[in-house]
Symmetry: none
Subunit: 216 residues, 4 copies
DNA sequence: AATGAATGAGAGTTCATTCAT
DNA sequence: GATGAATGAACTCTCATTCAT
């Protein structure tokens, strides 16, 4: 259903002159969705623009019309994924709630089984696609800052152990998440919901305050 | 250095034919080394048998002579890498020393800067190459058992916190390692030796016994 | 003559890109013609898509654009040849005229010296290409039914001997034709028009009614 | 079991001095047998020297040692097959018995299910391998003379119709056989023994003398 | 704006052949 | 006499990209 452009992009009741703007963005989004689906299914190495076009219901030419080349498609895909990620994490950021952060992060998995596979394909490939690498670096740095800030707040409140600098702690916990992301698509049976919950609980235990240490 | 037999001194290094002195296993190892190097440099997606052959100093035909097809090459590569990994971890296994385990694991990085990049490429691709996936699954399971056993021993001795089951702990710590492996090739500056040491110290702190809990 | 659109008069015939005016079916036919020509000239074993493309004036990619793979090309070729065959035999079918049938069949030879060589290559190869085999089987069965019917009509009219079942007779005569087809490309001098005519006359003699046998 | 040469090339107890002669010829024969088997199974186009070597239990080098190149292998194969054919037909030749001739020819089929497939592959390919073509031409010419002679004898005796020159009749009947040979590997179910017998009977009926025709 | 025919390079793979051993 | 490592060209097929329409 790509060619639905019935929705005027600004909701004009009367006007709607000329071509509907926003169409462009919507079609790009649709192609990106198809791209994610193809990458999840076939892996980055075997994902071709042809397959993406086919899955989106477009022609080969259309894909290269909306994205100058494969690199642009891939970077746009990464960007859109991170945007979604950020949006999802927003509540946790606002409340500085570490538990909520991890639960939201977990929700990405259950909500969209393609999310992690696609992300791990993009991350692993980033090393060989500078444009992609720079996007990921920026986004990860931003996420790292957010994560650190929440941990620091927790340490200040005494809800998180403070014998390890928040910065290091953030690195460790983020790595744990990345590691799971990488292994998840590959051994999904090891990541059923109840086990993932146990893992997250264990993380919270791991970073809980140590009795008799530090102090308000 | 595949062309070991005496080249006519002063003459053109003519194309090599016929039966050379070389040793089958050694040649395979040489090609695997070249394959690792190409994968590290160009990524799995762009690593071709042609490039591997070129880097090894052979022709394309020679590579497919030693490895029936790409799949066989890749699985042999994974296997050889895991063998190396296992050999390196042996001392830590023998002594059931968790700190040594992490330090040895860290040494893989400093010892061979290609090790992690290659591994992360193989792991990420495994999902789409069943033969590769099965190898990794087996090896990971073995490593996971070893890791769990060492942690259990530590818990029994009171050197590791026992409020989290060793099995879960192993999962978390292994994931951390995998996460670092994935991010390392991509943000190497974040993983200079001193920082990695700090990370490992922090891990040890994280799993250190909690005063006032459990105990003999 | 694929490059139909106006080439700059007097200019270099630049490589052709973009959407040309051509007609899909016509292009396929052109490629099939080239394929037939290559098979006739080099034999099935040495006929490659490259050669076919070259002979058609296209690149390799163009051939695989019009035919997903070699199997599809070959089966399409067989199909088109049989279509031509059927069309040619139609008048004989309509009149149930056995002599006309053989003469038309003979005309295939004189009309297109490639027809028999190509057919015999395809037939011989069919055993190892199931898709091709199934096409040939169907078409041959149809032709066999037609042939049998005409012979039966002849037997009923008393113009063909009836001491051998029409079905067996059809098998024998078809085999004769196949045998000639196979030997023709290989000993063409034995098949000059006058000799072929003599052979056909002899066939008609062979199946002429036997005096003193059966009959009304 | 090619490497049976348990006899030390100098340790014969009594006779058998030097290398056993005939060894060479025997090994060639073994390779030829393997070649026939591979051609029957995979078709000429996909029969490779590697597969032949493998099936014979030899090394790749051995095949090219015994046969300078593929062409020589193929022509030797054809020659050996024709020799076998000739030997089989010898009794029919000696007795000038046409029925025996066809029955012997039929026996080739039931005796060795590979015979016809291999032959039809070689015949079809002969057009593109001059050396092979010349062998076949010679052998076919010889067979044609034999066939004609037997038919002539039959005509003289009044056991075969004489309203068609023996030469033309031979051509027709040989073509019938070739046609069956070509179709047999490809529709074997149409050639069960009882049907083949019916076909041969019908041939004999076809060439039986015509009452009221010819002379004394 | 969008198409889809066509390119041309490069992928994995196969192969007959060569030749030092 | 026989081996089997290695070549190098050719194979089928895939792909990102271009561009006349």
């Amino acid at each position: 259903m790509p060619k639905t452009n019935a929705s005027p992009p600004g909701g004009e009741p009367v006007a709607q002159r000329g071509r509907p703007a926003g169409d462009h963005a919507a079609k790009r989004a649709e192609i990106l969705k198809a791209a994610a689906s193809v990458i999840a299914e076939d892996g980055y190495a075997k994902a071709s623009l042809r397959k993406v076009a086919e899955r989106a219901g477009y022609t080969t030419g259309a894909v290269t019309y909306y994205f100058a080349n494969k690199e642009e498609l891939v970077t746009a895909l990464a960007e859109s994924r991170f945007d979604r990620y950020d949006a999802m994490l927003e509540p946790a950021r606002a409340k500085a709630d570490i538990k909520l952060l991890y639960e939201q992060w977990l929700a990405m998995t259950t909500g969209d089984p393609e999310y992690w596979p696609v992300m791990s394909q993009l991350l692993t490939h980033a090393r060989y696609e500078p444009a992609l690498a720079s996007i990921i670096e920026q986004r990860y740095a931003r996420y790292h800052r957010l994560h650190t800030k929440i941990l620091e707040a927790g340490q200040a409140q005494g809800t998180i152990r403070d014998d390890i600098p928040a910065d290091l702690l953030a690195d460790q916990l983020a790595a744990m998440g990345d590691g799971w992301m990488m292994m998840f698509p590959f051994e999904p049976e090891r990541f059923d919901p109840s086990r993932v919950e146990a893992l997250i609980d264990a993380v919270l235990t791991l970073i809980a305050p140590i009795p008799g240490t530090s102090g308000s």
